[in-house]
Amino acid sequence: MTDDIILEARGLTKEFKGFVAVKEVNLQVRRGTIHALIGPNGAGKSTVFNLLTKFLTPTRGQILYKGKDITRAKPADIALMGLVRSFQISAVFPHLSVLENVRVALQRPLGTSFHFWKSESTLHELHQRALELIEDVNLTPWAYHLAAELPYGRKRALEIATTLALDPEVMLLDEPLAGMGHEDIEGTAALIKRVAASRTVLMVEHNLSVVAHLSDTITVLRRGEILAEGPYDVVSRNAQVMEAYMGTGGGAGHA
């Protein structure tokens, strides 16, 4: 069943000047699932995430994507291979319109990105696809607004639309719901669920109810090591997890 594994970390370790943030992590993400990474603060979730998306280089260990070793690849390269991340703090191009934001992601496959002598109108053929994506995330009324003018939640939606434009096989989301109000959380969670239908998602998230609702598999990290893994029901009943992460309220802290 190994070919079912789209992204894999083997013995992943990251040390910062003697401090071991991630220790011998073996992680397997199956194709077509939503996989969540949770754990107490400082457990190493973001670090694992950054290692997988090449924004950090591992001290030891190996990262395989579709069976290929990408341990030494550059961030831009893995994006080209279909492994795309989102940022913890919303990442849009503020002074481009929503349409242009999405179009920037769509235009690369045209192969004209270095063509400074071509007219911008050669990009108009992308508009239809861009508008479809925008429609998907319910941003149609905003399509011609500058991204800077969007409210926070909509920015997140735009970011997801932009990411989808790359048609990634794997999406990595770092705390996609952080800082959102209740009204946005539900919408965004639903959106993630929808877009995940045809791809693989790995996310870091503290909002347990969302994690419970969305994810197929949950990996719990503690002090850089994997503490437990499995579906929510299993993991949430693990005593160690309760002690290290959920606390007595069993995660009731969050709405």
Binding site: P75, L80, R108, F114, F116
Partner: protein, 332 residues
């Protein structure tokens, strides 16, 4: 790694400057303005002193090339004199000593600009903001010292008495009006190329990089390469301007490679309006006029130029054209 630490600092994706908006103003209006400008420039040699207008055009092209970088890629180069002056030397030398026709001389000048741009770019492009400015400044100072020491540049005498020659074997550039229209044509070509670049697929990516570089990386763009291409493009156009200037004045001298020249082009762009298409043209016109006016007064030139700098930065950051655009209804 670079990018990792950048992500943590992305709270406010950097827009290079407040002034860097405006470029999206309506194409129709741009075209109209351009037509008017062209008409004015076409008639100018009959009303104004042609050499003066040619000088303005050379500097306008130089400033536009510079603006391509600061205004549309968010990179402040403080070393553009190296491309401008370096190309002037190469054009002057190839025309005078090798006896090449002016078009070949200009082409070599452009290539020299591009080559220097490539070297500067490879070294500087990995750093942003003020670092980038300081590195380009330092590198251009190195080019200055080399220009001073190398034999072919004629040291502080410069290359003098450069023949203008016959363009494409047809246009005799020793005729002042022919020279004038040749310079105008060069300017128009350069300007059009810049306009095209800004409104091209490449320009789009550049804008995206300026707005949020880590995000552009995560979308699969190797941003350094885009910045490098923009840099080389800008350097080549600066080279075109420098080569043309060498033909107009029939000389190439140290003035053109000095760091003060880099400062001057920054001033032109700032005064006219960074990130606006026409701003640098207006700025260049003003600065050149001012300098030729000041030459005949007893006012200390650097003090006046410095004061304009300070005033622009403190009160007038959008520049003249930027300010007009900002006030024009519907333009933003």
């Amino acid at each position: 790694m670079t990018a990792a630490s950048q992500t943590t600092n992305q709270a406010a994706p950097k827009t290079a400057t407040v002034a860097l908006r405006g470029p999206d103003a309506g194409t129709a209006r741009t075209a109209l303005l351009f037509a008017v400008g062209l008409a004015v420039a076409g008639a100018a040699p009959f009303a104004l002193y042609p050499v003066f207008v040619m000088k303005v055009l050379c500097f306008a092209l130089f400033a536009c090339a510079f603006n391509l970088l600061i205004g549309f890629a968010g990179l402040l180069s403080f070393g553009h004199a190296a491309f401008f002056g370096g190309a002037a030397y190469v054009t002057a030398h190839s025309v005078k000593v090798w006896g090449l026709p002016p078009e070949a001389g200009l082409l070599l000048g452009v290539l020299a600009g591009a080559f220097l741009g490539l070297i500067f770019g490879v070294i500087a492009i990995r750093r942003q903001g003020i670092y980038f400015a300081m590195i380009t400044l330092a590198l251009s100072q190195m080019v200055f010292f080399m220009a001073l020491q190398m034999k072919f540049t004629g040291g502080e005498d410069g290359i003098q008495g450069v023949p203008r020659g016959v363009l494409f074997g047809i246009f005799d550039l020793t005729q002042p009006l022919t020279m004038y229209y040749a310079v105008l044509a060069i300017f128009v070509v350069g300007f059009a190329l810049i306009w095209r670049t800004v409104h091209s697929p490449f320009g789009q990516v550049l804008k995206a990089i300026r707005e949020n570089e880590p995000r552009a990386i995560s979308l699969g763009y190797r941003t350094d390469r885009y910045k490098l291409v923009a840099f080389v493009l800008s350097a080549s156009l600066a080279g075109l301007a420098g080569g043309t200037k060498a033909l107009v004045f029939q000389l190439a001298s140290l003035t053109d490679v000095q760091w003060q020249m880099s400062g001057e082009v920054v001033l032109m762009t700032l005064l006219g309006g960074m990130g606006t298409l026409f701003g640098p043209v207006v700025g260049a016109g003003l600065v050149v006029t001012l300098e030729s006016y000041l030459a005949a007064t007893s006012l200390p030139v650097p003090v006046v130029i410095g004061a304009i700098f300070v005033v622009c930065v403190l009160l007038f950051r959008r520049g003249i054209v930027g300010e007009i655009l900002a006030r024009l209804p519907g333009a933003r």
